[in-house]
């Protein structure tokens, strides 16, 4: 690859500066689904460890082979030392996979007496909530981050965020879960019909329509489970909110850096833009944008000229002598190579156009490009390559 012309004119994101700055205590990698959040988080963590930091990487749903390469074979919710990391400058790397159900269970166990904890854990509604509510994973990722940070065993925590359509889910889901848990309907359900509170008739009538309809659709058992759960859980609600708020504040603290990851595609960059704007509104510290899986345009021969040359070769008259035929087959190979090159150049051009939609709206956001590697990233060597690109080292 000869040319390394950047897709954008934005300032360059200097990953090493962020990693080497001891004041950086948390790096959060976010972005829409499948753009490379987990890969980036692991690559940053590895690079930081090999530059002397005591790192813990919190991953969510890593690809199987990548997890194995970090020694993560079971979902046990505790950080494990990663083997094969160079310890020369005195750093180390721990990694863990988030187990959201277990994290939730642990909160319940830590905040209620054993009998009540058992009752909650066995409740079908709790089981549904802790394993499938959209938002639980995000909440638990935040919770785990809070725990890791509080333990103060690591001087840098790199957080991967759950796979979700929208990058904003990471910020919104904990709030949504909190809102749900102390929402209006739950309160209604908790309030027996002949409540001592000054309920007006209207509300009572409205209430019976609601419960009546819910019972019709969901069945009385589901509602009863929900009620039992909410009653048992009631004393913990406040704690939930408080901890979520505390972690949210942690994300606004100066030691935190957000890295937004996007592929050079319209959807991913649109999501990245929303996220960048949101971080700004929440006064959360954005380090920059990582444009992952970029196809660099190799060389300077443009797509139209390349195609024209291919056509010239393809339309050349075919001789019949032996030299002619070997020449013809060489020409066929060259024409194929030229067409391939043209497609590569067009792809690069398309990515540049797509990226510029983001950068013209956000010209001050530092950007770093990571090229698309020919293979998936599933070992430490691959992570080192990504880490080197993140730091702008020539490949």
């Amino acid at each position: 690859m000869t040319s390394t012309t950047a897709l954008t004119d934005n300032p360059v994101l200097e990953a090493d500066r962020i990693i080497d700055d001891r004041r950086t205590r948390i790096i959060v990698c976010c972005g829409s689904g499948g753009v490379g959040k987990t890969t980036t988080a692991a690559a940053i963590g590895l690079r930081a460890a090999e530059r002397g930091r005591q790192v813990c990487v919190l991953t969510v749903d890593p690809a199987r082979r990548l997890a194995q390469s970090m020694g993560l074979t079971s979902l046990d919710n505790t950080p494990r030392l990663v083997e094969g990391v160079s310890e020369e400058p005195g750093g180390s790397m721990y990694a863990m996979m988030l187990d959201m159900k277990r994290t939730f269970d642990e909160i319940v166990e830590a905040h209620s007496d054993p009998a009540r904890a058992e009752q909650i854990l066995a409740n079908p509604f709790y089981q549904a909530l802790s394993s499938s509510f959209a938002g639980t994973q995000e909440y638990m990722a935040m919770e785990k981050l809070g725990q890791l940070r509080k333990s103060d065993e690591w001087d840098l925590i790199v957080v991967d965020t759950p796979p979700s359509r929208s990058a904003l889910d990471f910020l919104d889901a904990p709030e949504r879960l909190g809102r749900f848990l102390d929402g209006r309907l739950i309160k209604l359900l908790l309030t027996p019909a002949k409540a001592t509170r000054p309920f007006t008739k209207v509300i009572n009538a409205g209430f019976s329509v609601v419960t009546g309809t819910l019972t019709k659709i969901l069945g009385a058992q589901v509602l009863r489970d929900a009620q039992t759960f909410v009653t048992a859980f009631d004393t913990m609600f406040g704690g939930f909110r408080e901890r979520a708020d505390a972690t949210y504040k942690l994300l606004q603290a100066p030691g935190t850096s957000f890295l937004v990851v996007a592929a050079p595609e319209p959807d991913a960059l649109r999501e990245a833009a929303y996220f960048v704007e949101r971080l700004d509104a929440e006064r959360m510290p954005l380090a920059g944008l990582i444009l992952n899986r970029v196809h660099r345009a190799p060389g300077t021969l443009s797509a139209p000229r390349s195609l024209a040359a291919a056509e010239t070769l393809e339309s050349a008259p075919n001789g019949s002598s032996e030299t002619d035929s070997s020449q013809a087959s060489a020409d066929a190979v060259a024409a194929a190579a030229l067409r391939l090159h043209a497609a590569r150049m067009s792809l690069g051009e398309r990515e540049r156009r797509v990226a510029s939609a983001f950068t013209s709206a956000h010209p001050a956001v530092p950007v770093m490009e990571v090229p698309a590697l020919p293979e998936d990233v599933h070992d430490l060597a691959g992570l080192r390559t990504v880490g080197a690109s993140l730091s702008g080292e020539p490949q």
Partner: protein, 331 residues
């Protein structure tokens, strides 16, 4: 009109799943277009209201309702119509309340109270059942030329990781009301989904994770009695630019330079070297792709292949992909 056999004659509900970002929405739309010929009427359903279909067809967000969105390919008299519907849990719940209790306006009031959110949260299976319910209702609806309102329904479904749960409606509602309409509703949904009328197609790119997910997804669905696994649609494939043997033997850089000079290009030596590198990288990619394709073929389902298009996906591109699906017998 000559009816050509396709691999899925007899299927009226095409469910399209796949790993996130592999092209489910794009392929579902192309499949709907491919099916819309010979006067057929096809409904394209988006299951998880993100308005991907509207964006793809360059339309404003679709309301909760069936609208004509495109006409099929093919010449005079040969074409058909594609209708689109974006389902959201709220609309589907209101529909349901209306259908079984005749209470649409009460339903609206409940929406304001956040009941829809609440109900779908405490019973995560509910919105899935409402969604599949809407699709199967469209499949069964009477009318049209052949007695059916729609000749085929194509559903842009949730990703592979959720598809098993999404389609397994009976299990989904097992925790819900033991009697009443939602039960019989689920049963009638299951009657369509677990029948030869329905096929679940997998969209997959030739990369490790999507291939693994596809194989896992196929295995999962095979475990559900009555469920029909459909085709595997390989998307965004990069076709080999040269025959495999020539790619394997590697480029002869000096011969390449000679050809480039004949084509009138300058600094041919330097250029030949960099084009040679690109060709070698392409060869490597093709080899990796071939490996992934072999793994997919192991599953034993029909394979179709759509190329990676370099331009943005617009209506013209969709027709191109539709023609590919048709030529390969998928529709």
């Amino acid at each position: 009109m000559t009816a050509r056999d396709t691999d899925w004659d007899g299927v009226r509900l095409h469910v399209v799943t796949g790993k996130g970002g592999t092209g489910k929405t794009t392929v579902a739309a192309a499949l709907a277009l491919a099916l819309a010929r010979g006067g057929r009427k096809v409904l394209l359903i988006e299951a998880e209201g993100r308005q991907g279909i509207a964006r793809l067809f360059d339309r404003p967000p679709l309301p909760y309702g069936e609208r004509k969105i495109a006409i099929g390919p093919g010449g005079e008299g040969e074409t058909g119509d594609v209708y689109a519907l974006a389902i959201d849990p709220e609309g589907a719940l209101l529909d349901y309340l209306q259908m079984f209790y005749g209470m649409r306006s009460a339903g609206r009031a409940l929406t304001k109270l956040g009941m829809v959110d609440f109900a779908t949260t405490i019973a995560p299976g509910l919105s899935d059942v409402l969604c599949t319910g809407k699709a199967t209702e469209a499949v069964r609806r009477k009318g049209g030329r052949n007695g059916h309102a729609y000749d085929a329904v194509v559903m842009d479904a949730p990703p592979t990781g959720r598809i098993g749960r999404f389609l397994n409606v009976s299990a989904e509602v097992s925790g819900l009301a033991k009697v009443g309409p939602i039960r019989s509703h689920a049963d009638s949904v299951a009657n369509v989904i677990k029948s030869p009328q329905t096929a679940v197609h997998f969209v997959c790119t030739l990369e490790e994770m999507p291939v693994q997910e596809t194989l896992d997804g196929i295995a999962e669905l095979r475990g559900v009695k009555g469920m029909q696994v459909g085709g595997v649609i390989v998307n965004m494939a990069r076709p080999a630019v040269l025959p495999r043997e020539e790619l394997e033997s590697g480029p002869d850089v000096s011969a390449l330079a000679g050809s480039l000079t004949r084509a009138g290009l300058h600094s041919a030596d330097e250029l030949a070297k960099s084009l040679g590198d690109e060709l070698a990288e392409h060869a490597r990619r093709v080899r990796l792709q071939d490996g992934q394709r072999d793994d997919l073929a192991e599953a034993g389902q029909p394979l179709y292949e759509l190329p990676l298009l370099t331009d943005a996906i617009d209506l013209a591109a969709l027709y191109r992909l539709a023609a590919e699906l048709r030529d390969q017998g998928a529709a």
